[in-house]
């Protein structure tokens, strides 16, 4: 027995222990606070910032696991912050099996089953959202998928591979995700070459402004590369006008990327909201959001595999496949920024097989329904004001009080809500105003849970008024 290996008996015993521990936790989960109560940075540091143990601790190593779980944000049915999926237990079992199996999903010859299952799952996701024929790969998350997409766009329209970035302009709306400026920085395009297009009253990219911006750049000798459409935006869930953007991209030979990290999976349920999605050149979506998978699991889809290879194929001899068979010579690293890759697909594969695709379509429908119920409850409450239309499952609103600084008041309300721990929501800036924001991508939430948001806001508002 090698000293770092567990004996089969020890693995079996510990594995049973973790199974029981996590099963107990999941039983308690619905009744846990939406955020751990009374925790401070100092207290958490005191527990978890000890020196590295030199000698083995053996099973005692697991003793603080209860503290780790207690000082974590539970995947509560009343968590509506950011856009973060609620974590299917079935998927955790997939992660467990994948981690024991420990495949490096670089290329077929390094993990035949894992590579095949990932390609299958990517095909399932593409087909489910109406993008049959797209290929792609799973990523660590949406930021990485968006970065890879814009890299492909740049290499397709203004290649930097040989001589470096030639300059080029990317268009996205004022409401686009922060991963766009980050990608523009990383790719050597620069913030000044990201045109933020204003939005209309539904928070969608204004098409006439987009046209004007492109024409202005062409006149000034700048080189338009890509338009990034959001579906939906991270603050309000709005969906940019995809068919019009696709038309403009065709007309000007621009790359169309759709950032669907939050919303694109809802095309499985409400395809009518996503008409034009399949006209994208590339498309990101996050199974760790609206497929309720554990973090981090994003996905990049694209129409033309050759475009991914043009950007990402830099293989050297030591990694080159020895096979000439078209299936067996496949390598993800020829079309991804990643070389080593974990077996992310197993959890999705098992989740979709266990529950069937229809159950996911129905649960997304339920999330959409709960968001509308929340919006209606907000509208029905005289002291609350809806700040944006509810296109998907994000609801932005605020508490209103006469003669108050509403931004400050709502910030205080939000802080109070989180301290109370009954529900967890986050914030957004809507037309310059501080908004409370609840987003339902949570397979555990019920009508009662979203209604608790309203009552908690009212409670908190009473408390901060003194």
């Amino acid at each position: 027995m090698a000293p770092l290996d567990l004996s089969p008996a020890d693995f079996r015993a510990l594995s049973r222990k973790i199974s029981d521990f996590t099963a107990d936790y999941l039983e308690r989960l619905p009744n846990l606070p939406a955020f751990p109560l009374n925790v401070s940075g100092e207290a958490v540091n005191a527990l978890f910032s000890a020196e590295v143990p030199i000698a083995p601790m053996g099973e005692r190593a697991f003793d603080p696991l209860a503290d780790v779980f207690a000082l974590s944000r539970p995947n509560s049915p009343r968590f509506f912050g950011y856009v973060f999926g609620s974590g299917l237990p079935i998927a955790a079992l997939g992660d467990f099996a994948a981690s024991v199996l420990n495949q490096n999903v670089t290329a077929w010859r390094s993990g035949p089953a894992a590579v095949t299952i990932e390609r299958t799952v990517v095909g399932w996701l593409a087909e489910a959202i109406g993008c049959s024929g797209f290929s792609g790969s799973l990523t660590g998350g949406g930021s990485q998928a968006n970065l890879m997409a814009l890299c492909m766009a740049r290499e397709a329209k203004a290649p930097a591979n040989e001589n470096g970035a030639q300059g080029g302009v990317i268009y996205c709306s004022d409401e686009a995700h922060m991963s766009m400026p980050k990608a523009a920085m990383m790719l050597g395009l620069g913030q000044k070459n990201v045109r933020r297009i204003p939005v209309n009253d539904r928070f969608q990219m204004d098409i006439s402004h987009l046209r004007d911006a492109i024409m202005r750049d062409l006149r000034e000798g700048n080189r338009p590369i890509a338009v990034v459409a959001s579906a939906g935006t991270v603050a309000t869930g709005s969906i940019d006008p995809l068919p019009e953007i696709a038309d403009i991209c065709s007309e000007h030979n621009l790359w169309m990327h759709v950032d669907g990290a939050y919303g694109a999976l809802a095309a499985m349920t409400v395809p009518e909201k996503f008409v034009g999605l399949n006209r994208a050149d590339s498309l990101s979506l996050d199974p760790h959001k609206w497929l309720y998978q554990p973090a981090g699991c994003g996905c990049l889809l694209y129409r033309d595999p050759a475009a991914a290879q043009r950007a990402f194929s830099h293989t050297e001899d030591y990694a080159r496949s020895l096979s000439t068979d078209p299936i067996e010579s496949f390598a993800f690293f020829e079309s991804s920024m990643e070389l080593s890759r974990p077996f992310r697909a197993l959890k999705i594969w098992l989740s979709l097989r266990y529950f069937g695709l229809q159950a996911f379509q129905q649960r997304i429908a339920e999330d959409l329904r709960l968001a509308r119920i929340l919006a209606d409850s907000v509208s029905a409450e005289p002291q609350l004001e809806l700040l944006a239309p509810v296109e998907l499952s994000a609801v932005c609103f605020r508490y209103v009080r006469k003669n108050a600084d509403l931004d400050h008041l709502n910030l205080e309300i939000l802080q109070r809500i989180i301290q109370r721990g009954k529900v967890c929501i986050s914030n957004a800036t809507i037309r310059g105003q501080f908004a409370l924001r609840a987003c339902v991508v949570n397979h555990r939430s019920t009508e009662e849970d979203v209604k608790a948001v309203v009552s908690e806001v009212l409670h908190a508002a009473n408390e901060v008024s003194g």
Copy 2:
């Protein structure tokens, strides 16, 4: 009960089942072939490329798990291909717990325990390799860590954030990893601005060539940005002369990045080989390699947290922290390209606690010893020829036969070895020659296992000779 949740009873039962299934697998692992035998692309496709199920399959979803495991490359004690860690079962238990807990390790307020444990583990790793005081974060792997490091280098020396890439030159040796040209492409620097510096007879960057290249670029008005030192290189495990490279970087105000994805963790065991490591500005290392963690778990360390923030802080309102406490306002996404992030640190934390740091230091020493034994066995065999000095745990060699095309012969030998399934090795190109390559980063390997490499090469050579 929400339709996508498992009942507590079902979770408990399934979780037991996976525990037993994986425990059985781990018991069989030492005797499994090093690569699944007689598998073809078509056969694997036939098993795993079915349509997505619309209706639930329930527990039957797990039926093909045995096939998934059978058609995967086992983490065999006789696997010596590429540089890929052997996967500690204890770490898989950590991944299981992390996946049930499903934290999004974006910022303290989203996962107090997870963020704190990741910062602790990063500190442990830095200190263990002699880089106390460095901070950083875990990444998906080495390619991502190297990309982030070169992005920080570019933003420090020739910022692209505002106006786009200004051009700039990166220096690395002929033996540097393929993630360097890939990063240069992504960052908009371009392949032409990556200077590949020749290596000496120990496959280390030749310092006088490096000096000449920098001086030539300065004369020609190009802008040197960074030198990437390898520790060790992916083919032969050589370590570039770190102190000399650090001196040159100081002299010319260049960023020093050390690609230690493969080797840097060996500094825990043989620090004398890594003198100068702590003079790096940034440093990548892969726990999924020489800390035997499951894929994908890399790490980027850097000296100056402000440099990471200058590159990666693009936060918008909806993600901004509401806290002003220095611990509680911490956000990884202010100093990483990632926004959503999984709880990668838990498995490392549990592994180091369970076995203690010393056990890892000892196991790395054992890997180094096994590689020397393999090299000695190769040298002792008249038909085998060592093609590079063994600095760490990679052994490059070939079979020699009079009047034969040695490149072709050794390719055939390698293919035959993999078909035989007794050991798994890979290949490298050494001074233009096709080499067989065995790399020991495997906590399960014994002396007998590395000696099997030699006997398998000789067997395979006999078979391909007819």
